[in-house]
Amino acid sequence: MFLKVKNIKFIKLFSFVIVVFFSGQALAHHVLGRPAYSLNEDSNTPPSMQVETQIGSYFVTYMVYPAFPRAGERGRVNVYASRIDDGDSYGGKMFFEVKNDVMFGDENKELLGTQSIDDGVYRQGFIFKEDGDYIITASFEADGEPYIIDFPLQVGEGSSMAPVLIALAFIVFALISVNVLQRRRLMREKIRSVRNNESQSE
């Protein structure tokens, strides 16, 4: 169903910092949460990822099951949204989309489905054909304002050695820079000593 995603999670750290520090206003209606992983000690069922969050006038809880799905494995997202002031559940439609979790390149956004409330919960199933990093977006509109909730989802095992290459590039760059500076320093010392010798001989 989806294209294989190039795993470039190394930029997540930077994007995370940007999200935390530079999205104060956007936080009101747009949430990028990294759900907490918890084990269920009462059963052998796979654990889920769950996050509770406040956006705008709503208190939203979303749950991804299983926490770490594999390609070809059936999973689902449950979203609960209730008003902060009176606790009333949101009753309109909720849209679920998915896109590749990439900083650059093709996001390949696709609609997963549109869901109506069912027993106070919005349920959206999914099956990923290929491993990779995705972002599932749940969105709805209330009081004329859009509400968007993003949550990243890793499907399958990691597959990128890119951070190692970046680290090596840093190290090589540092060593080359140091070598260049050292050569310059040596050259300066050589020139200085030659000049000193010349001035002494004069």
Partner: protein
């Protein structure tokens, strides 16, 4: 999943012990008389059968090289598994080896071996291999130096950078949740290596180990409580020494990475146990020796302002580690997040919790110091000064932090390392399932120590921490010429309060760091 807490009866045993010692302190009983070795140190070179082994261990550069190779191999495995393996933390060797075994075991190793870890640290080893590789051929060596050898700027020559790094690491570990992410664990490992390389490429000696590394400084301060030290065999030889190879190095052996002069060495704080001094000394005058546990913190370590803050914040962050693994933490964090309108990963709420957890004990300590200062100055007529008392008495925090750290880590080590060996067969955790009830049963039945033994050890450790803290208080106040028992009361209350809080935390069910390790078939 959670671990069961310390039973009440064990907690009461520790509290009873604390009450007795507190009364003893106020009655001016001299606790230094009850020391195991009573100020005696034993040079391992002077023990007949141990001596040849110690000589081999300290003089052989091959042994340490082999150990470094093993540790580097494991470190590279962590990075590979973190990047390429399963995201399920308890099934990936990256998270298990880093957080359950290394991070928990490291603190336990200090109790016996001091700063031995620093000698084989993969961050520094990889940095040295990149920047200052050295090749030996019998008695010759070729050293390549790719460092600018700059002197670190003045602001950097303290433990403040390491302290900032330590707070940052705690935030990443507990706030961002690196411990439950194999991928981020691998990224952190890479970042530390890059930092070590850049530091070594820019500055002379090992500025990273000396000033920046949060792990190295934590080990250094805790090593004041260790029963081992590298010291001169004969002080007179050091006094007469004109060449100081331990400080300058030789053709074959590097200089001391943290610029210590063996003849003047009185504390372990900056010793990385690298063994350069034992190899470079032409008189073979440097040796490992055994000393009374914690002797350094009790009497010989010198107080410094930046180091005092490191020790104090080390205590607060150690307690904070425990707090975040309590069940009440999550509930209260959510409630607080609702009040301030925090959302997503609740990082703002977490950061506020972190700051409060640091500020509250620091405030209580500062208050205890200020009361001590006022009382002592009003009775003696001489004001010792806040800073002097603050830096002198801060050593009480070391045993309190260390004992709780050990007791807390015992849970992680003993309970969560069950089945760790199997992870080496499948380090990437491919095709294994999550942990569940089956794992919990396996953990309970195959722990290295029985649950009751863990509780006994935890109780003993908490008593040990309190005992050492009281001895530190007694000795350091003597040095400050604070004689009245009443004047010890504020600090005694501080020690009792912190240790009691730690015991209370040990009594609570504790959340696992990365979950159970037992590898169960996917069908389960």
């Amino acid at each position: 999943m959670t671990h069961p807490g310390l039973p009440e009866y064990w907690a009461f045993v520790v509290w009873g012990f604390m009450v007795l010692l507190s009364i003893g302190l106020l009655l001016k009983i001299n606790f230094s008389r009850f020391s195991f070795l009573n100020k005696k140190t034993i040079s391992l070179y002077q023990i007949k059968f141990v001596s040849p082994v110690i000589v081999f261990l300290t003089q052989s550069r091959w042994l340490i090289l082999v150990l470094k190779l093993v540790v580097v191999a494991l470190f590279l495995l962590v990075i590979y598994a973190g990047l390429m393996g399963t995201p399920v933390p308890e099934r990936n060797i990256a998270t298990v080896l880093t957080w359950n075994i290394w991070w928990a075991g490291l603190i336990i190793s200090i109790f016996f071996l001091g700063s031995a870890w620093c000698a084989v640290c993969p961050w520094d080893t990889l940095a040295s291999w990149h920047v200052k590789p050295r090749f030996w051929l019998k008695k010759y060596s070729l050293k390549i130096n790719n460092s600018l050898e700059m002197t670190p700027p003045k602001w950097m020559r303290s433990v403040w950078p390491a302290l900032i790094m330590f707070v940052g690491l705690t935030w990443l570990e507990l706030g961002y949740g690196i411990t439950t992410s194999p991928y981020m664990t691998a990224i952190l490992s890479l970042v530390m290596v890059v930092l070590a390389v850049i530091s070594l490429a820019m500055f002379k000696n090992k500025a990273f180990c000396h000033y920046i590394c949060p792990v190295g400084r934590t080990i250094g301060f805790y090593s004041q409580l260790a029963p081992v030290e590298l010291r001169p065999v004969d002080n007179d030889i050091c006094t007469d020494c004109k060449t100081m190879e331990c400080f300058t190095g030789t053709e074959l052996v590097d200089a001391c990475p943290t610029q210590l002069v063996m003849g003047r060495l009185t504390q372990n704080t900056y010793c990385t146990s690298c063994g350069n001094c034992t190899q470079s000394c032409p008189d073979k005058n440097v040796a490992w020796r055994i000393r009374p546990q914690s002797q350094e913190a009790i009497e010989s370590a010198k107080p410094h302002w930046d180091e005092a803050w490191f020790m104090l914040i080390l205590l607060t962050l150690t307690s904070f580690h425990g707090i975040t693994m309590m069940e009440f933490w999550e509930d209260n964090l959510r409630k607080f997040a609702q009040i301030i309108g925090d959302s997503g990963q609740l990082l703002v709420s977490f950061s506020v919790g972190l700051v409060l957890s640091v500020l509250i004990p620091v405030g209580i300590y500062a208050l205890a110091i200020e009361i001590t200062r006022r009382w002592s100055s009003s009775s003696s007529g001489k004001d010792l000064g806040f800073k002097k008392i603050f830096t002198s008495l801060v050593f009480v925090t070391l045993p309190l932090a260390f004992s709780y750290h050990l007791a807390h880590n015992l849970n992680h080590m003993i309970r969560e390392s069950v089945g760790a060996g199997q992870l080496f067969l499948n380090p990437l955790g491919s095709n294994v399932s999550y942990s569940g009830v089956a794992d919990q049963l396996l953990i309970k039945n195959s722990m290295l120590l029985s649950e009751n033994n863990i509780f006994i050890l935890q109780s003993v450790l908490m008593m040990f921490g309190f005992w050492i803290a009281i001895k530190v208080l007694q000795r350091r106040t003597e040095d400050l010429n604070i004689k009245s028992s009443l004047h010890l009361l504020p600090m005694l209350i501080f020690i009792v309060a912190i240790n009691s809080f730690h015991i209370w935390m040990l009594m609570q069910p504790m959340t696992m760091r990365v979950g159970a390790l037992c590898v169960v078939p996917a069908s389960l």
